[in-house]
Symmetry: C2
Subunit: 602 residues, 2 copies
């Protein structure tokens, strides 16, 4: 695949590279005396020099003849030189930061390229929104390679999104220079059932010679997984058991071992290669979703490589898993993933192979970060107004909006009505349908904090259709107050949970007035707020500020009684109708086992 | 890279594959109870079944649910199932067989795909000739993937070829479905010196997203090799020392270990991976040139894999080297090189991992060969008349044509003249310039068999320009008689060597009248003849007949006194002016160290 993420394409600068390697022209940069982490042969080569010109590597070995008067020389004695790290599957939106700020945050950790699936912004703003993210990222040196979101909406017919992506849209994006493939094909039922439109989406990607990335989350390695891979899906990051990852690699699929902020698969999945003496070329490390706190406290791929080493994967293999293996997965190894002549000069210096601290990061031959900080400033990108004013609610929201009239025929002698409640499970993606008897007051169904059952609502917020859905959730622990979020997978409508209608209305209106985000309110007071004005998903604030703001919001959540870890992650999945068991969208309560709408009252 | 060598592209049949894997449609073929050689994880998996539909693999594992009424079931109990073998670099012309006959010869040995560089026919007939070879090969199931010859002519200005390939021609061929890259870039001096046209040839390949294959024959791994690789050359088959192959792999270049009929590099080069515990993903086995005798007596890639195992490479690694590693080199691993869902069903059954005898060969899911014989008949291809009448000599050749008048000023008192003679070295590509005193008879320079010095001539045979060059060779041992050949690298003009003018004329005219080939004559009698009417390079006769005919010719050579092994190989290099030290082309004697024409007489 042609790589459009480089300072110059190789064919424009090959003559200069040959001249530099040969010694007739000086290099722009020479790194001397490094311990080279050679991911091609899985070796450490000592005292190696690397000459760089025109953003690419001209020579690896003895580069003394490449040094001219104006050549920058960096002594890397005692340090380890690795290829820049590549994240094979990442939703930038999960960081709640703009693509530009995300880039600024991860580059100092050694990340030089990401394969991003802008699935969230695409659900809200469509491909125009995706273009904004790409334009934003393009102002930084990070190679932000895009895979076209494949499942927008995630569950057609059960929710309202801001956009719809069909086979024609996919075909069109395949002509974008920024597009390297198709984003995670979550609709594996469509693939397995030979659905025509689903296969047209993957097929249009294959026809363009680009990569179909996957999402096969079933713990099944037989006919289903085979059907999925046979349809052209090249990689998958959804293994949670070692045997699933091993089966994928055996079937020629790149198994992406995930270690995100919310999903910690690595501990189990690493066993696929530590317990089995297999060729590891199909193993890749990825993050999928990373929150500000993780980026601040632990890092990005540097952290994940450390985690892999902690799980018994040797450091050289772990580094191959974020470099050459990933580049080969995307068939971009002619330019990325190794320190070799002709490749883009994306390189990382590490202080040692135990701590794996990133001391310097080079992208296209330029020093992009040193000792944890960026070395340059990049122009800010301003998202257009339609991207930052994306909350479109038809009707004014008041406390009365949240009243759920009880069906008088259902009222039991004890003045209760039995309702379906969504019971969430902390740090898990699944939920349960629970039947709960709720008190009826003045003819309306009410939250019952004594049973930890709270009213919840989802408002369509893309096209001001006025659609809204109501239901109840169990398990958040809120004693008094409300939480709201416009990060609500995958349609990202406005989601509100609360113990009373007044706080719920305040929470909803707080987000509407700031263009989206997440908040907690109690007794008419906003306790915590993370404004996310870009598509209601992201902020243009830098990482440290975001990490602080999110931490403050988490404190507010605790204040109102919610003590689960990362409650916003759990909350954000309430509307995701492709997950079991019961979900709430702007169209109503969905039985996700039978795929039909159901009433709140049993 | 899009693969055009398959029964159906994946996007046309993915729905069927999913249905077959899922069990809702029956497979076309199921192979059961095989020991799978899994090249993805480098393991043997026992009792594995493989389901095939529409020419592709639908499922690997337990395929019992894929078997329907009309499904062909093959029991492979006790056998080993490997991906079809791929030859990463081969000149079909060296086999002296047409592409179709070559395919028929190698398929039973497990070869399902070749990356062919039709350099020889291109020198004679240009891209139109290349198209003929591709059309011929396309009538067989062999995947004959073409790399565009990059160096036609090999040494511009020193010889006359039938064709010329420039950057524009290369760009045009990159649009051919059959073209997967650029043929071996032998002009490494042009690359190293940043020559504009040479880099335009490689650049036009890179611009098309295709692979530049290499030829870097210097025993040098520093600035030259780096410059060459930095220019985008992805693989090289010219390593003769282990350290060269290792250096190439370390620099991210695919090192192709050659074991051809004439060049036996494997013994040395294998040490690059047997003596060093390196990742072997950049190691590939290739043949380069294979003669009929080798194909008959030893086989093709099956033989080379056996040789690799004999040199200490474990069988699984050796098989990776002719399957997945090769496919990844050409970025065609999405379709070729492994037995995995979605891939082309190109598979080989082996009886064991010691003898590695190929018992059955499947291509695109069809049984193509069993127990050493093809199972089907494929329509013959008839080369057009312009391709089979390619010998165009302007002037009639008679014994007088070979008279070389001595310069009377140079005649020594003992009636001799000192001449430059090309001394050949058996089984080596180099030669020496020797100065020899030759007798002058009636004013003409004559062969002197007592010194083993023979007259030699090269006649331009493409455009009937009448150009001809004369000189002397030493080392062939011919006592009486002549040999002629139109296989004479790389221009493939008509080359004649002999002890007397009459036999030389007969040898030349014998080839002219049969459209080219190789022959031996003595005392006015043709002792041996291999007619090669296709471009003067190839025959449309099948392998057994070719092997016999060539063996008979070798006997004739011995009869006239030439006892060196494979003399036609050594002879064929006499005009190759890119090799040291002295060569003869149709334009005259070339000093290949100084790159200038020199006189016969010193």
């Amino acid at each position: 695949m042609i790589n459009h993420f480089c300072k110059y394409p190789l064919w424009e600068v090959s003559r200069r590279l040959a001249a530099v390697a040969g010694g007739s022209q000086p290099a722009d940069l020479v790194i001397v005396h490094a311990n080279l982490i050679n991911v091609c042969t899985k070796e450490i080569q000592e005292d190696i020099s690397v000459a760089v010109a025109a953003g690419r590597i001209a020579l690896v070995g003895d580069a003394s003849h490449c040094i001219g008067e104006n050549t920058q020389v960096i002594d890397a004695k005692g340090q380890y030189l690795a290829p820049g790290f590549l994240d094979g599957h990442i939703h930038v939106e999960s960081s709640m930061m703009s693509a530009g700020e995300y880039a600024r945050a991860v580059i100092p950790h050694g990340t030089t390229g990401i394969y991003m699936d802008p699935h969230e912004i695409c659900n809200v703003l469509g491909l125009e929104g995706v273009r904004c993210m790409l334009d934003d990222a393009a102002r930084t040196p990070l190679k932000a390679m895009m895979t076209t979101p494949s499942c927008v909406p995630a569950v057609p017919g059960f929710e309202d999104t801001g956009s719809h992506i069909g086979p024609k849209d996919v075909a069109e994006t395949m002509n974008w220079d920024t597009c390297v493939g198709l984003g995670e094909m979550m609709n594996f039922p469509g693939i397995l059932s030979s659905n025509e439109e689903t296969h047209a989406i993957t097929g249009n990607t294959l026809k363009a010679g680009k990569i179909v990335t996957g999402h096969y989350s079933l713990p099944e390695t037989g006919r289903g997984l085979n059907a999925y891979i046979a349809s052209g899906v090249r990689c998958c990051h959804e293994s949670t058991r070692a045997e699933d990852a091993l089966a994928k690699m055996r079937l020629g699929m790149y198994a992406m071992f995930r270690e995100g902020s919310a999903w910690h698969d690595l501990k189990e999945v690493a066993k696929s290669i530590t317990d089995h003496p297999v060729d590891t070329r199909f193993a890749v490390l990825i993050s999928d979703d990373t929150h500000p706190h993780t980026l601040m406290a632990q890092g990005h791929l540097d952290h994940i490589v450390r985690r892999a080493v902690a799980e018994g994967i040797d450091a050289l293999t772990a580094i191959q898993m974020v470099t050459i293996n990933c580049a080969q997965c995307f068939q971009m190894d002619q330019d990325l993933g190794s320190i070799a002549p002709g490749k883009c000069a994306d390189m990382v210096l590490l202080d040692n192979l135990t701590d794996l601290n990133v001391t310097r990061v080079f992208i296209d031959g330029d020093l992009a970060a040193a000792n944890g900080a960026l070395t340059g400033e990049y122009p800010a990108y301003t998202y257009p107004e339609w991207a930052t004013r994306s909350i479109h609610i038809r009707d004014a929201i008041t406390p009365e909006t949240f009243r759920i009239p009880a069906n008088t025929e259902h009222i039991a002698p004890d003045k209760t009505v039995t309702v379906r409640a969504i019971e969430v499970i902390p740090a898990r993606v699944g939920d349960y349908e629970r039947h709960v008897a709720l008190p009826v007051r003045d003819g309306f169904l009410e939250s019952d904090t004594s049973q930890d059952v709270l009213k919840t609502a989802v408002f369509e917020r893309h096209h001001a259709t006025g659609k809204k859905g109501f239901g109840f959730v169990k398990g958040f622990g809120i004693r008094c107050g409300a939480m709201a979020s416009t990060v609500a997978h995958d349609a990202h409508n406005l989601l509100v949970i609360g113990s009373n209608d007044e706080d719920m209305a305040l929470a909803a209106n707080t987000l509407i007035s700031c263009g989206g985000g997440m908040c907690a309110v109690q007794n008419g007071k906003v306790l915590g707020l993370v404004p996310l004005p870009i598509a209601g998903l992201m902020s243009d604030k830098p990482l440290p500020e975001m990490a602080d703001t999110v931490a403050a919001l988490e404190e507010s959540w605790k204040e109102i009684g919610c003590t689960m870890p990362s409650p916003f992650m759990t909350m954000a999945l309430i509307p995701l109708a492709c997950l079991p068991e019961l979900r709430l969208t702007d169209r109503g309560l969905v039985d996700c086992n039978r795929f039909c709408f159901v009433d709140v009252e049993v």
